[in-house]
């Protein structure tokens, strides 16, 4: 409550327009009446209650502010708010039960072809698409609590959906129960900061054809298939948490046709595959921590010129797996807990190279059901023999400078 009073005060100062009160016994009984009466620059203050007024279109620069989360209900048939004007703000509302159509993507809040829109601290419940930005520039989506009702993948929309946007900031939102928690397509120069995306049906974060974007301090956990980054370049991913994405096609981070990007200071924990790379080029994977994953890295032979440097690999079932003999990537200066070499000159760097792909990893790659023999003494013997005389494992895939001790990584994680 205090927060919203404060927020209100802020906007009072900024907007300098009139404030229109909506609610029982106030000037306006419905939001629609208030919106019709409002002038550009006005603030519409919505008092607690349930407002089921069908579709509300914000075609002028107004700010909607909810007091104690008034409920805007779409009765499972409407798109609740549609924004078409620049400079609109929507704060502190509970928006629920949007409709769902096969022909149009109905959303809780849809923003169409405009700019400078701010959507903050709303509660989105049981919406098809919750927040949907289409052809929008210079806008912000922050502090929203987005909870969907998971149905089948094809019948559920995304939590925060952006299509063809520029310079958007997605900050500190919580997304759960949607198809993709956060979805980007053709979105450039944008930031995704400090969000938590969990238990979505498909991906926690999904982005395609989105260049020059930055992802920082987000947590993606327990999503059907983790995080997917496809067909993009110049993407920066720092200080994110990728946790507990389990399943046959689940990845902490899936990179497909990505180039010139940096993945730094992230933590990958308990994923079936920490990072899965396919067609990835010129990516720096630096100072990340891979812990207790099935595969820390799966680097397909279609990847080239990637640098895997100064990462920490601890307690993974397999550190690196690949599907071919050709290795065009560089592994250097990582800490591998499976390294058994020695360090005679005591400079902290092992004197013999480490080969992170074991024979057994190669066997499992070809015949997945051999998985049941993991950690069998027989497999251990085979791996030892292969280490001495590599024949099946890619010879060129090695770390020339494996670290002897686990380095302290300078990670700054969200809690």
């Amino acid at each position: 409550m205090q927060l919203f009073t404060l927020l209100l005060l802020c906007f009072w100062g900024v907007a300098q327009g009139a404030t229109l009160e909506v609610g029982k016994g106030k000037t306006y009984g419905t939001i629609r009446q208030a919106l019709e009466a409002a002038m550009a620059g006005d603030t519409v203050r919505i008092h607690p209650g349930v407002y089921a007024e069908g579709n509300l279109t914000l075609g002028k620069k107004v700010t909607l502010v909810g007091v104690d989360y008034p409920v805007l209900d779409g009765r499972n048939s409407d798109e609740i708010i549609t924004v078409t004007a620049p400079g609109v703000g929507i704060f502190g509302l509970q928006i629920q039960n949007s409709g769902q159509l096969n022909t149009i993507d109905l959303a809780g809040i849809k923003v169409l072809s405009t700019n400078h829109v701010r959507i903050g601290n709303n509660r989105m419940r049981n919406c098809n698409f919750a927040i949907y930005l289409s052809n929008v520039q210079d806008s912000e989506v922050f502090g929203n609590d987005v909870q969907g009702t998971p149905k089948e993948e094809q019948n559920t929309g995304n939590g925060i959906h952006l299509w063809k946007c520029e310079r958007i900031r997605i900050e500190k939102n919580y997304c759960t129960g949607h198809r993709d928690g956060i979805y980007f397509e053709f979105v450039t120069d944008s930031d995704v900061l400090g969000n938590l995306s969990e238990k979505n049906i498909r991906y926690g974060l999904h982005f395609m054809f989105s260049h020059n974007d930055r992802y920082r301090e987000n947590t993606f956990r327990n999503n059907g298939a983790g995080v997917a980054v496809m067909y993009s370049r110049q993407v920066e991913m720092t200080n994110n948490h990728f946790e507990h994405n389990w399943g046959g096609a689940a990845y902490g981070l899936l990179l497909k046709d990505i180039s010139d990007s940096r993945i730094r200071h992230n933590e990958f924990k308990q994923n079936t595959a920490g990072i899965y790379m396919e067609g990835a080029s010129r990516i720096d994977v630096e100072q990340n921590r891979f812990e207790a994953n099935g595969w820390a890295l799966r680097v397909q032979a279609s990847c080239d010129a990637n640098n895997v440097r100064e990462n920490v690999f601890i307690g993974n079932s397999f550190d690196v797996a690949t599907n071919g003999h050709l290795v065009l990537n560089k592994f250097e200066g990582n800490y591998w807990d499976k390294y058994e070499g020695y360090d005679l000159n005591r400079d902290g760097v092992g004197d013999v190279p480490f080969r992170p792909v074991s024979l057994y990893a190669v066997i499992v790659e070809r015949m997945p059901f051999c998985m049941v023999l993991m950690r069998s003494f027989m497999v251990y013997l085979l791996d030892k023999a292969e280490k001495i005389m590599p024949s099946l494992t890619p010879e060129m895939l090695h770390d020339e400078k494996p670290l002897m001790r686990e380095p302290q990584l300078n990670q700054n994680h969200p809690t």
């Binding site: 389990w246 399943g247 595969w295 307690g315 059901f369 998985m371 023999l373 993991m374 950690r375 003494f377």
Partner: protein, 256 residues
């Protein structure tokens, strides 16, 4: 089964130098492995190998030798008004309790100190179940063969088969039939070896992330839920019960 008899056998075995040495060896190796590795998880991996190789071997060989050495005592007991099954059960529980004590001290204490987590406890559970399984197998081997040397030979071969040969054979079969749907077959193959079952119980904790990567429906149903452990444990129980049943059937009619 007579409790006094169990007690007698138990005290007799607990004073045995080999059991004491076994306990000390396990304790030293476990403590050493944990102390030497940077991460407790790494220590557990090394310890898993010890448990899967050494525990079956010692349980099997020690029990076989003990049973042959106790042949006179068993003969004496058979002359008393005691049921044959009571004699067998007393020997089994006496031996089992002694070996379980060794495991609890030798593996249980280090696990409690260094890795008191689900993986550590599943490793301890595996060690205990393997002990019981291989004592039961030793009973069968020693009751079935009269000659001590041959009995020990059978026991050794059994260990070699389960600990080393079996996985190589499985790998061989999987390679040979790689083009066929082998999901159910692999599970069946794993159930036919108690050491593999024990290993899978630990894997379900240690490598669950990787196990979930295999898309087989049966695998996911089994490994993704608590049923995997229940399945493995119940098959393991069968592995204790079946050899004991056969041993008892032979022992009942055996001319001592």
């Amino acid at each position: 089964m007579k409790t006094s008899l169990v007690k007698y056998v138990l005290y007799d075995i607990l004073q045995n130098r080999i059991v004491i040495a076994y306990t000390v060896f396990l304790l030293a190796v476990s403590m050493g492995l944990f102390a030497l590795s940077d991460q407790p998880a790494q220590g557990l991996i090394s310890l898993l190998n010890i448990v899967l190789i050494v525990v079956p071997l010692v349980s099997l060989i020690f029990s076989t030798i003990h049973l042959y050495n106790a042949a006179d005592f068993i003969e004496l007991l058979a002359a008393q008004p005691l049921k044959r099954s009571a004699i067998l059960w007393s020997e089994f529980w006496g031996l089992s309790l002694a070996m379980i004590t060794a495991i609890i001290i030798g593996v249980g204490i280090p696990v409690l100190v260094y890795a008191p987590n689900p993986t550590g406890f599943s490793l301890l559970g595996t060690a205990l179940s393997l002990t019981l399984v291989f004592i039961a197998l030793a009973f069968w081997a020693s009751v079935a063969t009269r000659d001590k040397a041959r009995g020990i030979g059978v026991a050794l071969l059994t260990w070699f088969y389960f600990a080393l040969l079996y996985d190589a054979l499985v790998l061989f079969i999987l390679f040979g039939f790689a083009d066929y749907p082998l999901e159910k077959a692999t599970l069946a193959l794993m159930s036919l070896n108690p050491i593999d079952l024990g290993r899978i119980i630990v894997l379900l904790q240690m490598d669950i992330s990787a196990l979930m990567g295999y898309t087989g429906a049966l695998f996911n149903a089994l490994f993704g839920t608590v049923w995997g452990i229940i399945y493995a444990l119940s098959i393991m129980l069968l592995w204790v019960a079946a050899p004991l049943y056969f041993a008892q059937r032979i022992f009942r009619k055996k001319d001592l």
